[in-house]
Subunit: 409 residues, 2 copies
């Protein structure tokens, strides 16, 4: 069960002028379940994205990269759940292109103006015929207020649909940002790729949109981990319809850029956290803050070393304030010349480690008290510099093994 | 339960001329259990070692490094189980030195000629008084044929003591190599540091012994993983008493060096495999061979990416031939410019992946057949070059979570 996570109130997901969403049942995932989603953009909409670094990147990722690199304007995106179209070779590339063509024909744009996304089982060929058959229903349902339905249509093993909205004033105009995401591990190659789509009505130049999508990914989705793996299909797209009427943002040092960045991050952060809250088998949501690092990268590395350690994660599951496992994980981050006598650790409001050793004032019952709730905060102070980063993760439970060992059986 | 692993037959662990072993109950781990081990070396014995890279290296590791770097001849080593003496600051260093002094006093050597090792709980101070009280019994029991007892005395959560012997002819003389190891994860910081001691009666120059210990570690202990973590106390010591009568080995390119290397590796390999076989909660022993890499490092990296993935390990537990998780893990190894269309995978004798896609001839029932036994072989051919490496690991079961979540509760 997800940790303190409920489905978004559809009324609170603000429509984005210039963006319409449709959905349908294509019968790819299972009968009677929405598994096809179409997002259509008004002319002039700009789209930027970041994709998985996995060498076995799926066919739709390869097609997206190709089209984005070619600078093709994007009119629509199409997402199917239930089949990842990965490890499918030339046939997979053709299937991804055929999916785009089916959407393009209905909405009246060039096939190259559609970007494809897939999530689901790996090494199975995509049933393009079912997608083609369901596409008319998908196109017929296009509407601006379908964000919550779209969030449900892209789910696989997710237990809760994930969506968020925020708004701000940019260049004197009211701008809105709405996003949806799916994913319950950074990777369960059967079903749980992370896909995120965040759209805004703000106007922003293409190079700055591409810059922003990377910056936001580094501060949100690249800071969350369930099992340390990376999917073959992970994708995060940032969409700007430009209809808010603000003067186009063209300067990354401007106040307008900063305001839009903050608003997009306000949507991306809860979506990223939602992925850890809905992590497979999760019973705890854990926030790991690492301060006193010499660089952001060093802080994130230490945080992820803690978040990835199966020994730390099983201790969280047991609500066990296991300090030994924490210092082991910190020590494994490969930080050169770490002076362990400067390291301190807090669990919630309890300082447990001081000068690299157990805090003399620490009592086990205080540790047990702060480990008991479903949400746990850890703060590691390295005592090396001024950089700080936060990583979110979940625990490692019997149900994680159960879900992943029994998935196909 | 360990996978196809039984305790070594004491009669098959060859004594090493110049090496005597003693053991005692110090009451550190639990009452009525041997937890102290002393190994005494004849004059002229050479010792080389490799140690954990963890920044929170334990006090005994720091003392060992200091003494080995100083070139101090080593007369004995002392090992306690039940307390890792890690995260214990200056008091921990003093405790490690006091342990050595207690042994030195009894066997008549300088305190600096003794190396200390500890394994057990982290962040607790070492009860030096109990070690001092038990040391006379330990010294009184010194004997050349106590290898099996010594293997049992250094165990923590190990379910089976681990020992192996091999012999060969080097420089016209019969040489013997005997080793013992403990460890059931690369790290469970409560109790499961890896400690290994391999001794030979061969004569070899100190720089070559140091070279050999690194080479052997890279081919054996650095190729085994249970949970991807690295202990604060991991140590592997190679001991050469020089009593075999062979001409001292002084050339790393000589046939004698090669013969001794092969014999030490013949002991180190089953000891390393025993660690994975006895991995916490293990139900499967998995051998991952990666060939066709451009370098040994690349091959090992791909192998470890597979061996570390919780998704792959839970699939092994389920005897599930989950090809999607395998290609995901391979794709996450960070191999630049991997041409996935050249990658093939075999499970046992069944080719499952061909040219980056499912082998057209592959049938699920063949995959299920080879995944069923307790020992599973995986072969990944990258199609990039001529380098090849093998990694050993175990699966990830409910019992792994149980053991690590309930350890302290």
């Amino acid at each position: 069960m997800a940790v303190n996570l409920s489905a978004p109130d559809p009324a609170k997901l603000a429509p984005i002028d210039g963006v319409k969403l449709g959905f349908a049942e294509a019968g790819i995932r299972k009968a009677g379940r929405r598994d096809l989603m179409l997002m259509r953009f008004a002319p002039g909409t700009r789209v930027a994205g970041v994709f998985t670094q996995n060498s076995f990147a799926a066919a739709p990722v390869l097609v997206c990269r190709e089209r984005i690199n070619a600078g093709t304007p994007v009119s629509a995106i199409v997402v199917n759940a239930g089949n990842a179209n990965c490890g499918t070779g030339e046939q997979g590339l053709a299937a991804a292109r055929a999916t785009c063509a089916a959407a393009a024909k209905l909405i009246g744009c060039a096939p190259e103006a559609v970007l494809p996304f897939s999530t689901g089982v790996i090494l199975e060929h995509l049933p393009v015929d079912r997608i083609e058959a369901a596409m008319p229903a998908c196109a017929n349902s296009l509407a601006a207020n379908h964000w919550a339905d779209a969030a449900a249509a892209i789910m696989t093993t997710d237990t809760v649909p994930k969506g968020a909205s925020a708004s701000a004033t940019v260049g004197g105009k009211r701008i809105h940002v709405t996003g949806i995401a799916k994913g319950v591990g950074m990777l369960q190659p059967n079903m749980a790729t992370m896909l995120t789509y965040i759209a805004t009505n703000a106007a922003i130049a293409q190079p700055l949109l591409q810059r922003m999508v990377k910056e936001i990914a580094d501060k949100s989705f690249n800071r969350v981990t369930v099992d340390g793996d990376t999917s073959t299909n992970d994708s995060f797209m940032l969409i700007a319809s430009g209809r808010a009427g603000n003067a186009e943002i063209t300067d990354a040092t401007s106040a307008d850029y900063a305001a839009l960045h903050a608003t997009v991050l306000a949507v991306a952060t809860p979506l990223a956290q939602a992925i850890a809250r809905d992590g497979e088998g999760a019973t705890k949501f854990i926030t790991i803050r690492v301060s006193g690092a010499t660089s952001d990268d060093e802080a994130a590395r230490v945080g992820k070393c803690i978040a990835h350690s199966p020994l730390v994660k099983t201790a969280f599951f047991a609500s066990d304030p296991n300090l030994g496992r924490l210092i082991m994980a910190i020590g494994n981050a490969g930080v050169a010349n770490m002076d362990v006598s400067k390291v301190s650790i807090w669990l919630g409001d309890v300082r447990v480690l001081l000068n690299g050793g157990r805090d003399p004032a620490y009592r086990e019952e205080d540790g047990a008290r702060v480990m008991k709730p479903a949400e746990i905060d850890i703060h590691v102070a390295l005592g090396r510099g001024g950089a700080e980063q936060t990583v979110w993760t979940c625990d490692f439970s019997y149900d994680y093994v159960k879900i992943n060992a029994e998935y196909r059986t």
